[in-house]
Amino acid sequence: MKKLLLTALLTTLPTAGAATLVYGANGDPVSLEPGNITDGISILVQHQIYDTLVAFKDGTTDTEPGLATKWTSNANATQWTFTLRQGVKFHDGTAFNADAVVYNFSRWWDPKHPQGFRNQGRTFEIWGQLLGGYKGDATSVVKNIVKVNNTTVRFDLNKSSSVFPEVIGAGYFGIASPTAIKKDGAKYGTPASKPIGTGPFIFQSWRTGDRVTLTPNKTYWGTKAKVDGLIIRAIKDSSQRLNELKAGTIDFTSDLTPDALRSVQADRNLTAVKKPSFNVGFLSLNNRNQYIKNDKVREAISMAINRKAIVDAFWNGLGISNASFLPPVLAWANSKNVPATYRFDPAAAKKMLADAGYPNGFSIDLWYMPVSRPYFPTPKPIAEAIAADLSAIGIKVNLKTEDWAKYLESRNKEPGFDMYMIGWTGDYGDPDNFYGAYYGPTASDDINWNPAELQRLLEQGRAAVGRTAKARVYGQLHEITYKANYRLPMVHSQPLAAARTYVRGWVPSPLGSEAFNNISLVGKR
């Protein structure tokens, strides 16, 4: 009786509205201003508010019309023309048109744009990174942005880029209302402003560290939201997100640790969702190290690591190990001459080490990251397992780590790390986004190996039009990098998500996040 009374007393509040969708995010957005963010949570929230010119089909990295209904290029992909969707309005009632597109892109590209607010903390660094630099830079991919007419915009490029539509379709580049930016000024994107896009949800409020509240856009041009409201809550701790999901105070969440899979599967109110993998976790080997510069040593290291056993042990069925730097969704760009998986052969590895002149092995540092990342959720035990495999062939591994910011800095400073764990999560669905990030002209200087041939192939890859042409180029890249053994792919992880069973229609994107307008709540009480 006492328990009943206590329960009644403590649960007298109304329950959540039947059709309010509540997502548990692993933190707070940094900013709601497009182009000025790189973190996953900001992108997720912005996906609800803003549309991009180019969209991606549900659950894939294949492009489809967004705010642009079609796009064409000239023969060498140095000029891209986008036809814009007509009749679309921003949430503030202003019209979406070519002026709005030129305004948004110019803010990111032109350091002298009057509303770029560069002197007030805006950096738009993701634009510079994905598109080679800014207006006036010799390396800038974009040469000019032209309004052809009210529904047509043309981008003139300094160099061929077949991947340009994919790049500007990335979640960073949502189109915001110029009127709203001019009105809010440098406050735009902060909780003191009202972010305005054309997306399926309309911004209502943002309580930092707590939640972002949105309402459906009843006049959305695409699939209209099927819920009465959307709340995106900041719940940093993954165990607590699972608690919230089990308690029914959130409807769905992502970025759970692999060891939560069993708990999710054991709860009949929950459904486990394995998100498509779009990342790679790998070991980088530094050519500055006297042992590692020997080709046979690198091959021996690669052969000594039992990737399958490590992935089985630490990813709980939520990881794939193969011999490619590219995640499975981009497997079309892999070479058929490269085996599907890496060879694991400790005896052959030990012999190869002896052939290299080190029959008794040697000592080397292995650095592991101090933070959990989607590709390496538990870095230290994974590093210990790698060390154990290497010690079996006589290589004594000294495990080391340091603060994450320092870790990222030290890897690029001479002499760098002998061997270290790192990874990458893609921005858009093209092999260039993976190979370019770690082998490209502006990549980290952490392995001290960057032959001109790789740069030539990367240039060719960016210019190649169509999958067949691209696959030919990236296949060569795959073969070269596979044989070189400077970056040893370990895993393509599948981030674990989960939802209450009444959540229907959620198709997670490989690109990290998506708009939630397709989700419905069937029987939520």
């Binding site: 963010i37 560069r118 902060t190 809550r233 608690n243 800095e409 990458w424 200087d445």
Partner: protein
């Protein structure tokens, strides 16, 4: 008394200036810079250098010794100039003014800390008193055991355990956050329980109370244990004093002797500990706020440290130091109330 308070406030001002210099230099001495931390895996040397320049982090720290340069064109003078105008800067990437964040996050932390302290006092004081009065009894042993568990149990573990048991298993309380999904409350003071009442929304106030219970227990567990232990030992010490024996000899009731004579004198060290706990609560709130998704100062500054967000760290630490200084001043002043022999001049 008045001049004492003014002197203490002036001293606090000097302490704040000192802290601002120390924090300013300290955060910049931590290896790893904001540009690298912000860029994450994208942090190539060129990208980090470009971002560093854009953020103005390539300027000298305190004085610009560059040729023909303005000596005050350095980071600290700019920061102080902003401070004098009430501008604490903005988050390096978020551009959210630190002042705005402090205004919304301090009440959250303060509300949680007060609730935790109330919980610690409500349980810790009686537990300590009973343990002292029933020395070596089962009650004493129980209080000692509970104190030990409270001190030694990691807050994050206790927090998750509480949340799992009371929210997931029993469904009595919400697992985390300050308000339920459906509660709409426009803040007045930022103290949600109070705001619910001020806005005439008792349901919202009750919702805020329900959300406070678990984090307050988690955060209050260590202070509870310390308060119980100090109360016990202090009271035992006082109960052995001559004047207590005299009071008893005069025929005063045990209740009167304990509450009027012994307890008041035993409270001095307890009050000192409570003052110290104010600082500890601000520090301890980091874990509690993270576990319970509590949008307070602790989790905010903690995140800023990992991102090397200098303006946020500076603002948060200086503000926390100010709060601790003021609380300690209040504690010092309360001594005079408890013990009339203490006078401040």
């Amino acid at each position: 008394m008045g001049s004492y308070v003014i002197r203490r406030l002036l001293r606090t001002l000097l302490v704040m200036i000192g802290i601002s210099v120390v924090v300013f230099a300290f955060v910049r001495s931590i290896p790893g810079d904001p540009a690298t931390a912000l860029l994450g895996e994208r942090a190539t040397p060129a990208a980090a250098a470009a971002l560093r320049e854009q953020l103005g982090l390539n300027k000298p720290w305190f004085i610009n010794f560059g040729n023909l340069g303005n000596p005050l064109d350095a980071q600290y003078p700019r920061y102080v100039a902003g401070l004098l105008q009430g501008d604490l800067g903005s988050g390096l990437k978020s551009n959210i003014p630190v002042r705005d964040e402090l205004a919304s996050r301090f009440p959250a932390t303060a509300e949680l800390s007060i609730a935790a302290l109330l919980f610690a006092l409500l349980i810790g004081l009686p537990a300590g008193i009973i343990a002292a009065l029933r020395r070596n009894s089962a009650w004493d042993n129980l209080a000692t055991t509970v104190s030990l568990v409270g001190v030694s149990m990691p807050v994050f573990w206790l927090g998750l355990l509480l949340s799992y048991f009371f929210a997931v298993r029993l469904g009595w309380l919400p697992p985390s956050a300050r308000l339920g999904n459906e509660t709409v409350l426009e803040p007045v003071t930022g103290f949600y329980v109070l705001d619910g009442l001020l806005r005439g929304q008792p349901a919202a106030a009750w919702d805020a109370v329900r959300h406070l219970i678990l984090p307050a227990i988690a955060l209050g567990s260590i202070p509870l244990a310390i308060i119980a232990r100090i109360t016990r030992s202090s009271l035992l010490d006082v109960l052995g004093q001559d004047y207590v024996r005299t009071a008893r000899a005069k025929g005063l009731s045990a209740r009167s002797v304990t509450l009027k004579h012994a307890l008041r004198n035993a409270m001095l060290p307890v009050v000192t500990v409570i003052g110290l706990q104010a600082g500890a609560l601000l520090g301890g709130a980091v874990l509690t706020e993270t576990i319970f998704s509590w949008p307070g100062l602790g989790s905010w500054v903690y995140d800023a440290i990992s991102l090397r967000d200098y303006p946020v760290i500076q603002g948060g630490v200086i503000f926390a130091a100010l709060v601790v200084s003021v609380v300690n001043l209040l504690v010092d002043l309360s001594y005079a109330t408890l013990d009339p022999r203490i006078q401040y001049r």
